[in-house]
Amino acid sequence: MTANFDKPLTERMHPDGSVVSLRAYERAGGYQAIRKVLRTGMTPMAVTEAVKESNLRGRGGAGFQTGLKWSFVPRGKDVPDPTYLVVNGDEMEPGTFKDRFLMEQDPHQLIEGAMVAAFAIEADIAYIFLRGEYTLASERLAHAIAEAYERQYLGKNILGSGYSLELYLHLSGGRYICGDETGLLNALEGKRANPRSKPPFPPSVGLFGKPTIVNNVETICCVPHIINRGAPWFQGLGRTKDGGTKLFGVSGKVKHPGLWELPMGTTVREILEEHAGGMRDGVKFRGLLPGGASTDFIVEEHLDLAMDFASLGKAGSRMGTGTMIVLDDHTCPVGMTWNLTHFFARESCGFCTPCWSGLGWADRILKAMEEGRGKSGDLDKLEFQTKMWAPGHTFCALAPGAAEPVQSALKYFREDFERHIQEHRCPWS
């Protein structure tokens, strides 16, 4: 891999995966962004404006403008107290492992990002809500947080600036729905992790009813670099109009599955063929989910699309988390779809009918089909269910996300589904 572009997020990391220590982080320019913010008298609004100008968009999958989100937090004297920053580290999207990489290997980057973000939204308390299974990240973050407290980067009167911030690490009890920002807030409050009604949106009514910003780990990690090197630099990192670099990952039967920090807008083909080394010998590419399990399949004809928030929409898909799952010709597309649907059905919080009921039904239809018990009419039922899961039809984004692999599999691999039904078996088994 040739590094003829900046890789601010991963440049300090060691090839062996060991953690970037506090000293190493500081030596590489770490904790300078927060110094700059606190010592040069930047106002919270100025930090927010800088992030807005950088065109940083949320890396959790939805791609909302981060600076714009921050600007929704009520400011001034009469605002409810406290304001919270919550870092969403509940990375449970199947096929996605980018935040884990950032947290395990460079935890201080996340801590500094959280500090700058918290300052920008005038938060007093920040939480990192971490996926419960991420034990290594948990250990390394806990250690790094303790170090940061020791160095007075956290706590009262940070670096003598008068600004104070408490940062807590919270391990999730587990469940995909905790990754939904409002499901996460309920979980953090100790309640059932059902998503909340929006409106009210978290910037006005969030954690414990107070103004809250929830940002993804990767998003937060970008923040110190924007402050250090400026919004235009960050904006210039991308190859298309979305700014910055992005962690892209590939899993599946490729030669070199992995994760790389690349310019936003790198094409799917470049990631797949150059970085992941193309398909393994003897297997052929059939399609891929570009950004985790809850994105629509794309196929051969779409490979030259850029991985950014807008381009994949042309193929009816979306970038999601930017971590691809590749389907090859030795793998049954029905089996893969069932596997994903089974996951989503299992993770439905059980709140709204199209989700808890429809996903369970679709799960059983796909299982039957894969086991040779499919019936004519099953595909119509599946298609009808995917319409029931459309955005706005359900309470949150889980079922619309679950619809994406199913509806696109039915579109691109329909003959495989039909063969399952006609032959009363899985042709791959």
Binding site: S197, V205, A345, P354, S357, G358, A390
Partner: protein, 875 residues
């Protein structure tokens, strides 16, 4: 009002509400599950989807949930849009995937919201071919039955039980398509309002377990509008009957009183009506007698003269007045113990004189600062406790309004509000079930409670008398500030402490704070009995002892609950002839020469006056095939033919009760010439109702007393509120049909809610402050001040005879804060009336020197508490 276009038809909707509310209020048949007018919107079931259009040129539109979308001016929606119709069909099919389709064996069948909505949506074919999920059901105690396989995961049960009623033992467990709504383990539902789950649940997950013991379908039952007899709040109910036995009680919506909810005592206490020990024919000297011979005996005794009558606070005004007329006003005695009567008359006097106003339960719910003085509401006036629990949300709601969150958006409101609560101060003898939402509590002896009240009044208005040795009492100042800062302050008090000073203190607070003032009362017609008057009960006893009465007629009253056992024994022994009218055997009926079988609320018409001062009529639902008659029918003069005559005579004789005639339409009332049917119609007609018993159709019993018929035939129109026997309208077989009886869903019933308020003083009326402030309570070295403790299950005479309630009754005990005794220890409590053996429960919140004893059930029926007594370890 906003104009919203529904399928291009302009409709008036309340812009403060959502589209579902607006559509239902406009009479559209839009199916829904998770929404409830008392619980608001959460958007779980997705059943109420409609298509919303941007403007008149938008032909595509998008699906929205009507419950989650404001009814904003100019909104354009379509219910009939094919896409919305298909979506709703998809939802109902999804909801029904796991439903067992066991309607024929389900108690909800025939009055099931899920059935109604399934039919409304047109879902009639099942495409799902896999196994259904199944659950293990729980034993939730004697009141509520649990059948989880029927669940459609609408979440209404937990939203009602936990969020609304404050229960914490019913939860949603697990996820996806197998969310389990139940308890962590089998056991009795702890909340005192659990029975509402039966009506809140849209299907048969939670059903009435007492109904199950003697089940009949809604369409096979005969109903009558009734009023609860188990406390003084006067919650409106509908009583359902079949084959002469009472099958159940359901809520009768009254916007001003009980709204959508009842307490468990009110819902499940009815079974005393069916008790096998009921008097079903007269008993003369212990032997069954005919009605004619009983009447002859009664007439004889009246003719012989020297007859006195003792009324009852649990009997109707009509029954009391008929007795008063029979014996003459000079020989009519109040059925209440003197002290209790005195307290109730004091409360009435305060409310009649004004300027403070007695609020409806609906107004209590909207109060934004509440001060409870001396009342353990959950155990004395349970439904009011549920209203007070809502009141603490009023002040935080103001902050929510500022965030521009619509108040119907339930989860949004709760997310914003979190644990914020408005002011609620509870000053009582011991801890109460409302303490969990109280701002502060204060537990003290009655005199100290009164002193706190007087001090609050003084802090509010320095012209109110100051409390000696209690200057600048921080708690009093805090309560005063809270009441002063409120828009709708409320003071709640009552007779529970047995203290005039407490009542007077509450009146002072209400006057000083310009607050509403609500008094609880002990029994369903305590206020009515006090308004009717009569000589003190002690005078009746004296008359008997003095030999001035040859015959004593006792109306629906176990006098052993009014006076000590020994005293009653001697009085009744001294009376030559004792005639008792009552439902069930009790110590008083044991002494009777003649027992006349008196109809309960289910076999009688009559009027009660609630603690609010609301006169409300209840109507007969059973037409017994035996000698049971309404007490007033046994006692009335011959020339009064029906209820109208009794009411007219009462109103003429007692001007303070003149308005009771307006509590319900008279027996002459008709709708288009027709009476109001007590039975829902059935397709097979009334002949079929009894056809398995007798093929010949029996004659429909006449009802000379009311505008209701004992039949399914009559007007198809909706009756006025006081005469609604059941809620039903085409397509709405479940209790949710109440939507169609309201002008605006969740609002008053069409034509006004039932009942007439007797106390509406002018706010300009002046009333001087009470000034008899008691001295601070002084504990005594070797004595305890024994105070009464009430139990929702256990202290009410009639409900205690219902098996389900008896099973839940609290074991009578002494509550005490003392290191001398241990939890569960048996002690002997010695009072003026005797010595009683009771177990101890340690209440660490109680002050030193006082002990609370369970009252209302044996052994403590009529102990004179508060009073000084001794407590010693039992030998």
């Amino acid at each position: 009002m906003a104009i919203v276009y529904v399928d291009n038809k302009p409709c008036e909707m309340n812009p403060e509400e959502n589209l579902l509310h607006g559509c239902l209020s406009n009479g559209f048949k839009l199916p829904y599950f998770c929404w409830h007018p008392a619980l608001g919107s959460v958007g779980a079931c997705r059943q109420c989807a409609v298509t919303q259009f941007r403007d008149e040129n938008d032909s595509h539109g998008k699906i929205v949930m009507s419950c989650m979308t404001p009814a904003a001016e100019g909104t354009r929606i379509s219910i009939a849009d094919p896409e919305a119709v298909a979506f709703r069909a998809g939802i109902i099919e999804g909801l029904m995937l796991n439903h067992p389709h066991d309607c024929p064996v389900c108690d909800e069948g025939g009055e099931c919201h899920l059935q109604d909505m399934t039919v409304m949506t047109g879902h009639d074919y099942r495409h799902y071919e896999f196994e259904k999920r199944t659950f293990r059901n729980q034993n939730l105690g004697p009141l509520v039955n649990h059948e989880m396989n029927r669940c459609i995961q609408c979440y209404r049960c937990v939203r009602y039980y936990a969020d609304y009623a404050g229960g914490n033992d019913l939860n949603a467990f697990a996820l996806r398509d197998r969310v389990f709504f139940g308890r962590a383990e089998d056991g009795v539902l702890e909340n005192e309002f659990s029975g509402n789950l039966v009506e809140i649940c849209p299907t048969g997950v939670f059903t009435d377990k007492t109904l199950k013991q003697h089940y009949a379908r809604k369409w096979d039952q005969q109903f009558a509008p009734s009023v609860c007899v188990h406390c003084a709040l006067g919650c409106n109910t509908d009583a359902g009957e079949r084959y002469g036995t009472l099958r159940r009680i359901v809520n009768r919506y009254n916007h001003e009183v009980n709204g959508y909810f009842l307490c468990d005592r009110g819902r499940f206490g009815y079974e005393f009506v069916n008790d096998e020990r009921r008097f079903r024919q007269p008993l003369l000297k212990g032997q069954p007698a005919s009605a004619a011979s009983a009447r002859r005996y009664l007439d004889e005794k009246i003719a012989q003269g020297r007859v006195i009558g003792i009324g009852s606070p649990r009997a109707s005004l009509e029954a009391n007045f008929s007795l008063r007329t029979l014996v003459g006003p000079d020989h009519f005695y109040s059925g209440m113990a003197d002290h209790e009567g005195k307290l109730i008359r004091l409360m009435i006097e305060i409310l009649r004189r004004g300027p403070v106003r007695t609020p409806t339960l609906g107004e209590i719910e909207k109060s934004d600062a509440v001060f409870i003085l001396g009342e353990d509401l959950t155990n004395v006036a349970p439904r009011m406790a549920l209203s007070v629990r809502q009141s603490v949300r009023q002040q935080p709601m103001e902050a929510v309004k500022k965030l521009k969150i619509p108040l119907w958006l339930d989860f949004g409101v709760r997310d914003a509000m979190q644990d914020a609560k408005g002011p609620l101060y509870i000053a009582t003898l011991h801890g109460t079930r409302l303490d969990d939402v109280a701002t502060a509590t204060f537990h003290a002896a009655p005199d100290d409670l009164a002193r706190l009240g007087f001090a609050v009044a003084h802090a509010l208005d320095s012209s109110a008398p100051a409390v000696p040795q209690a200057d600048d009492w921080p708690l009093a100042n805090e309560i005063a500030r809270a009441l002063k800062g409120a828009k709708k302050p409320l003071v709640i008090c009552g007779a529970s402490c047995g203290s005039e000073a407490v009542i007077q203190a509450a009146a002072n607070v209400a006057m000083a704070a310009h607050a509403a003032l609500s008094f609880t009362a002990p029994e369903c017609n305590s206020v009515g009995a006090a308004l009717m008057g009569g000589k003190p009960l002690s005078a009746a006893f004296q008359a008997v002892r003095d030999g001035d009465a040859d015959t004593v007629i006792i109306l629906e009253n176990d006098l052993y609950r009014r006076a000590p056992h020994a005293e009653m024994d001697s009085v009744l022994k001294a009376a030559p002839h004792v005639i008792v009218l009552d439902h069930l055997p009790n110590p008083t009926t044991e002494k009777a020469e003649l027992i006349l079988p008196a109809g309960t609320f289910a076999e009688s018409d009559g009027t009660f006056i609630s603690s609010e001062g609301r006169a409300q009529r209840f109507f007969q639902v059973c037409m017994p095939e035996n000698e049971v008659l309404a007490s007033w029918r046994w006692l009335k003069p011959d020339h009064w033919e029906n209820l109208d005559d009794v009411l007219r005579a009462t109103a003429e004789a007692l001007p303070q009760l003149a308005a009771i005639r307006d509590a319900a339409p008279s027996s002459k009332f008709r709708i288009a010439g027709a009476k109001i049917p007590r039975s829902p119609h059935r397709e097979s007609g009334r002949t079929a109702a009894l056809v398995h018993i007798n093929i010949s159709e029996p004659k429909t019993p006449e009802d000379p007393d009311s505008a209701l018929s004992f039949s399914m035939e009559g007007t198809p129109d909706q009756p006025p509120a006081a005469l609604i026997p059941f809620f039903w309208s085409p397509s709405w077989n479940s209790i949710q049909a109440v939507n169609t009886y309201q002008k605006e869903v969740g609002g008053p019933l069409r034509g006004g809610d039932a009942g007439v308020r007797l106390f509406e003083p002018s706010p300009k009326n002046g009333q001087a402050y009470f000034s008899a402030i008691p001295a601070a309570f002084q504990p005594r070295e070797n004595d305890w001040l024994l105070v009464p403790m009430y139990h929702i299950f256990g202290s009410d005479e009639l409900s205690l005879q219902a098996p389900a309630i008896r099973e839940l009754a609290v074991m009578p005990h002494v509550a005490i804060n003392s290191d001398e005794f241990a939890e569960g220890m048996e002690v002997e409590v010695t009072l003026a009336d005797g010595t009683f053996r009771l177990p101890v429960r340690i209440h660490r919140e109680m002050p030193a020197g006082i002990a609370a004893v369970s009252v209302g059930s044996p052994p403590l029926l009529a102990v004179q508490v508060p009073g000084w007594g001794k407590i010693a370890r039992a030998k």
